[in-house]
Amino acid sequence: MGVHVKTTVNGDEVEFTCAEDEVLLDVLRNRLGLTGAKEGCGTGDCGACSVILDGRLVCSCLVLGAEMQGKKVETIEGMAVGQKLHPLQQHFIDGAALQCGVCTPGFLMAADALLRKNPNPTEEEIRFGLAGNLCRCTGYDKIVRAVQAAAKEMRG
């Protein structure tokens, strides 16, 4: 029973053994202690568990841990560099783009994935880029504004 996997998480090589039917989200949370990704639905409908897998934004609840052999996973825990917050993180705080904060890690991963592909998105591109992430507190207003501000800063 179980699958032994070697993979890279936030640049660190990690090894774990998981059940064959265990999803990446549970591996991250229960085996690797990375609880930044949240289970809001477990069915890919809320985006709270978003991580970046080999450069693509995915819901970690819809990926098996067993599939992770030799992959590169990026999670919210790897977003800041040392003490330096990523501009998106800083603008989310400064712009009050979070209230309860439970969706925030997922939004930050999605926004990061968006800006890597499109450093200068329109408001509409931001809104559709983040449409896979549900937020119930903010009405998305300050989230979109924070992404705009971060994108501007990152473009220099």
Partner: protein
């Protein structure tokens, strides 16, 4: 300190920190994934708890056989209602909560808990659930509010006889309560009217839709010592409820609130928590119980579906002569007062000579309703504001002028009884009238709607401790849960009072063993009441600090005053002393009397009622019935915005929830009484691309009952959107929309009747 002894002299004070927008103390934790929510906590040796739920809407539980599940390797406890004996002492409300947590003789709705297991892991617990054998006798069910009120509806509780009707009924029914509010003579008022319009409206059931499912970790020892880590809007209330239901001493049950991933009223009473405690007690191991999203929708507390009739009479000059409403709400599988609260709020925006609201509360085979942001008010406002709009048009008056003419003001006898003091409905309407949004041109297939909303705010029991650390910084312990940035606002209030920098103050939510009882963060009370307590606690701390400075200086305390974060000696003898900073006083605390602190334990009454006006533009596709919101403006009175960003956030969040309710969110029950859309795929809350920016305008009409003039701001913002959008879609399509949500099939069908 009693509230009335406060001096509201600071209402017009020039603030240094209040009104600015500093970062929140939990910000970095929340953007780095470090913040710990309900499910992010692990207890040593913890088991995983899972719940078996009824697949039937209404069924007798004839037999539960748990023996096979108990024998499964790795299963440490299995519980049924037998493990939760009735310890409520005749408190019917608590008994209903108990029965809602775990079905007793009958399953009352699809998803009602029947049994629960705790096992070494989730896979084992899942297997165990399948081994529990339940024999049901399926009973006829009812899920619609109007059906439930019919005489031939299947009776859900044989002990419920309609309250509030004369003579008292002799047969039980699903109509649990009738109530009536109002004054004057509505029949006479309708006779005076030039125009009378009657309409009937329906709203479907919606859920708060918080992104974090309920999660609790519980540990009970054989000596009665217990701990709970839980996401909740009120850890003290959860403690009290759980202690009552489990027969524990409240002092021995220590509850720590996790960060909360949204609540909006949905985390105001217990569901899974008593089950986790009972499992832990039986297993003598910690138990973690986390709901799935499906469970959140099927078996926590959504809000009522409603059916409302409205009749308004008005003269050609725009005076409303009579207003009548009958409100029918279902409260789920237990008796409730939701329709009554709807009746109380229904006409609160208006100054009416003749007004009457009748409420009928109904029981149906759906989950027990919980509060949802200004509970009961949005559906009532939808019906009333829609009819107000129609009457205005019928007499040829601009709907906003018609509202201004009839708006409640200071001295108005409210529809629920009392006479209003200074209130904000007029200013929000005037602000709306003058807002550029009202004059912006509309495109093809677009319509604009505006509507008002009212909500009672409240205060309640609150504690705050302010502790000065030896290095001269400040710790604040608050007892109300922070749902949207309140820790920042509370720290700001303390910093403002002490005259220190915001960065020198840290506020945390303390556990139930560290403070006295605190009411929940509900009723828009969190920041209102905790900031009031924080101000008083800080002022008490200043008294201590002045005393210590007096000792250091060896002068009378009357000759020490506190300003700009330091003790200043005053009077002719001492005026030239260098002020003593908080840091300097703190350094000498040990030899001036020991630790320094200020406390406040208060009942924060005087929250003051709240009003808002919203403006919405929508575009409706006439060929598909789909409506998109193109522009949205919220205007609301905040009294005083401590941290304006978080006040705006409350306005925007409430508006977005209301937009979802108006357009697409609804519980869909099948003929079998089962919920068909228990997930975020088909329970459609607005996504980012569904919404425009939501403009906000904060009015500040100081609340004289708060030291800084604060009013609660959390809830009122969800009241107007249902009506504002319904009116906007009606204007866009030319067909009055009377059934929410205005889902495309419903709107397209209404267009056929044009």
């Amino acid at each position: 300190m009693s509230v009335d002894s406060m001096n509201p002299d600071l209402v017009n004070k020039k603030f240094k920190i209040i009104g600015t927008r500093p970062p929140r103390p939990d910000g970095i934790d929340k953007v780095t994934g470090r913040a710990r929510y309900g499910a992010d906590f692990t207890m040593p040796g913890q088991l995983i708890g899972l719940v078996l739920r009824s697949p039937h809407a209404h069924a007798l539980i004839e037999k539960i056989d748990t023996s096979k599940a108990e024998k499964l390797l790795g299963v440490k406890a299995v519980i049924t209602s037998k493990d939760l004996p009735d310890l409520t002492g005749g408190d019917r409300g608590m008994f209903d909560i108990l029965e809602n947590c775990m079905a007793r003789k009958k399953a009352l709705y699809d998803g009602h808990a029947i049994a629960a297991v705790a096992a070494v892991d989730a896979a084992t617990a899942r297997k165990a659930l399948k081994l529990i054998d339940v024999k049901y006798k399926v009973l006829p069910h009812v899920t619609d509010v109007d059906e439930a009120l019919k005489p031939d509806s299947p009776v859900i509780h044989s002990h419920v006889f309609t309250e509030g009707i004369e003579p008292a009924p002799t047969k039980p029914s699903n109509w649990n309560k009738r109530a009536e509010y109002g004054h004057g003579d509505v029949d006479a008022g309708f006779r005076e009217a030039d125009v009378v319009i009657s309409r009937s409206y329906k709203t479907e059931q919606t859920h708060q839709g918080y992104i974090e499912p309920h999660s609790v970790s519980a540990s009970v020892s054989p000596d009665g010592m217990a701990e709970m880590w839980v996401c909740t809007q009120g850890h003290f209330v959860y403690r009290n409820q759980c202690a009552t239901l489990l027969g524990l001493d409240a002092n021995k049950l220590r509850v720590t609130a996790s960060e909360i991933g949204g609540g909006f009223g949905g985390k105001t009473h217990v569901w899974a928590e008593p089950l986790a405690l009972a499992l832990s007690r039986k297993a003598n191991r910690p138990v973690k119980l986390t709901m799935t999203r499906d469970e959140v929708f099927r078996c926590t507390g959504p809000t009522s579906s409603t059916s409302v009739d409205v009749k308004i009479g008005a003269k050609k000059d725009g005076t409303i002569t009579a207003a009548y409403a009958e409100l029918r709400y279902q409260g789920g599988a237990f008796p409730s007062n939701w329709a009554e609260f709807g009746a109380m709020t229904s006409w609160a925006c208006y100054d009416l000579k003749n007004v009457k609201s009748v409420s009928k509360d109904a029981i149906v085979n759906r989950p027990k309703c919980a509060a949802y942001r200004a509970p009961s008010a949005p559906a009532a406002a939808f019906a009333i504001e829609s009819t107000v709009d129609e009457v205005a048009k019928a007499i040829g008056m601009d709907p906003i002028d018609f509202r201004i003419k009839n708006a409640a003001k200071e001295g108005t006898k409210s529809s629920y009884g009392p006479v209003y003091g200074p209130i904000g409905i007029g200013p929000t309407l005037e602000a709306a009238k003058n807002h550029p949004h009202m004059k912006a041109p509309l495109g093809k297939n677009m319509g604009r709607g505006m509507a008002c909303g009212f909500w009672f705010n409240f205060g309640g029991q609150t504690c705050v401790d302010v502790n000065i650390t030896p290095d001269g910084n400040v710790n604040v312990a608050q007892g109300t849960i922070d749902v949207g940035g309140a820790r920042a606002a509370i720290a700001m209030a303390v910093a403002e009072e002490l005259g220190v920098a915001y960065e020198n103050v840290r506020s945390v939510v303390a556990d139930t063993s560290s403070l006295g009882h605190n009411d929940m963060t509900d009723g828009s009370r969190g920041t209102f009441s905790s900031s009031m307590a924080a101000v008083f606690a800080a002022r008490n701390a200043i008294t201590v600090l002045r005393n210590r400075a007096a000792k250091i200086w060896e002068i009378p305390v009357d000759e020490v005053e506190w300003k700009d974060g330091a003790a200043h000696a005053k009077g002719t003898h001492h005026g030239n002393r260098t002020p003593l900073s908080l840091k300097e006083i703190a350094a000498q605390a040990g030899n001036t009397g020991g630790p320094m602190a200020g406390h406040a334990e208060i009942t924060a009454d005087g929250a003051g009622v709240s009003f808002a006006t919203h403006i919405a533009d929508v575009e409706t596709d006439p060929e598909t019935g789909r409506s998109l919101v193109k522009r949205y403006t919220v205007i609301q009175d905040a009294g005083k915005a401590l941290h304006p960003s978080y006040v705006e956030g409350q306005y925007q969040g409430g508006a977005a929830q209301g937009i979802g309710w108006a357009l697409n969110e609804e519980y869909v029950y099948g003929k079998d009484g089962r919920l068909q859309n228990a997930g975020f795929l088909d329970y459609r809350i607005p996504v980012c691309s569904d919404l425009p920016f939501i403009d906000t305008q904060i009015l500040e009409i100081a609340n004289p009952h708060h030291p800084y003039g604060v009013r609660g701001v959390g809830e009122t913002s969800i009241v107007p959107p249902l009506a504002a959008l319904a009116i906007a879609v009606s204007n866009a399509t030319g067909v009055r929309q009377t059934h929410l949500p205005m889902s495309p099939p419903r709107v397209l069908k209404s267009l056929k009747s044009k």
